[in-house]
Symmetry: C2
Subunit: 160 residues, 2 copies
C-alpha cells in the first residue's frame, strides 16, 4: 500500500497531492502532454536521475494516470500515454502555468502559449476559454506553442 502522505486530511486537494505531489511527477506528466513519450527523451529533457524517473513512471502507471505501450521487444521499450484521468490533470497545469507566467515571468516572455486548434488560433485564458471564439476548450482542442528559445533548448538536450 502506498504511504498516505497527508493522513487524516479529508480533503480532495490533499488526496490529489498524495498522487501527484511528489517531486518531478508533474514535470513527467508535462513531458507526456508535450508528446515526449519515451524514457530516454524525458530523461534528457528533465535531467532527472534515471531511478527517479523510473519510479515516477511506475507510480503514475500504477495510479492509472499513464499507460504504457510496448514499441520494441528487444530491447523491451515502452511509450507512455495519458489516460483520461491523466488528461483531466490539464486544468491543474493551465492554472500553474498562468500563475507562473504572472509571478515568475521569464525574460523572453511566456515559454509556452496555449492556442485553440482547428483553425481558430485564439489564445486560451486561465479559465480554459478561447479568447477568440469563446469555446470552453479541453486539452484535445489546444496546442502549446513554444517560445523559439525554449524549443531550441529542448532540441539541444534531445540531441546530446
Amino acid at each position: 500500500m502506498l504511504r498516505r502522505d497527508y493522513e487524516g486530511q479529508h480533503c480532495s486537494v490533499a488526496s490529489a497531492l498524495e498522487t501527484i505531489g511528489e517531486r518531478w511527477t508533474m514535470l513527467v506528466i508535462r513531458e507526456v502532454l508535450q508528446g515526449r513519450r519515451k524514457f530516454a527523451e524525458m530523461q534528457r529533457v528533465l535531467g532527472v536521475a534515471r531511478n527517479v524517473l523510473a519510479n515516477r513512471l511506475q507510480r503514475l502507471t500504477d495510479e492509472g494516470i499513464l499507460e504504457r505501450r510496448i514499441y520494441s521487444e528487444r530491447p523491451e521499450r515502452y511509450e507512455y500515454f495519458l489516460t483520461q484521468k491523466g488528461l483531466d490533470l490539464w486544468p491543474v497545469f493551465v492554472a500553474l502555468m498562468h500563475w507562473g507566467d504572472t509571478y515568475m515571468p521569464q525574460p523572453g516572455g511566456p515559454p509556452v502559449r496555449l492556442v485553440h486548434k482547428d483553425g481558430c488560433g485564439g489564445a486560451i485564458d486561465d479559465r480554459r476559454i478561447c479568447e477568440r471564439c469563446g469555446e470552453h476548450v479541453t486539452v484535445r482542442d489546444v496546442t502549446g506553442i513554444l517560445d523559439p528559445e525554449v524549443e531550441r533548448g529542448i532540441a539541444e538536450k534531445l540531441s546530446t
Copy 2:
C-alpha cells in the same frame, strides 16, 4: 539564494512548483484560505511537525505569498494572510479539488463544496464559473461549505 529545484526547465509550471511544490506548502496555503491564520491552529489541523510548518510559513512569507501581522507582543505571535499573489493560487486549488473529487471520491461525498456568495448560492464549476448565474467568480466571491463530518473532524483537532 533558494535552491533551484528544477534547474534548466524554462517552464512556468516548473517555476511555480519551485515555489509551491514542497511537501505541505499547498496545505498550509489551504489553511489560510480557510481562515485558519495562527500557527497553533494550522499545526493542530495539519498534524505537521512544528519545524516543518515554521519553515513553510517563513518561505511563503519570503516569497510574498503570505504576509504576517502581529497580534500579540508578549509572547510574540503572528497571523498569516494571503497576498494577491497568494490569492491568485486559488485556481490551482479549484483544479486540484475537482480532480480529487472526481478520481479519489470520499465515501461521504466531496469534503468541500464551493458556492457563490452574495445571495446567489450557485455551485462553482471547474472553470470557476457560477452554475446558477454564470458569473466568472474569483476567490473573494466564493465560500467553501464543509461536509459536516469534515467540519466535526477539524473542530476536534482544534479542541485538543
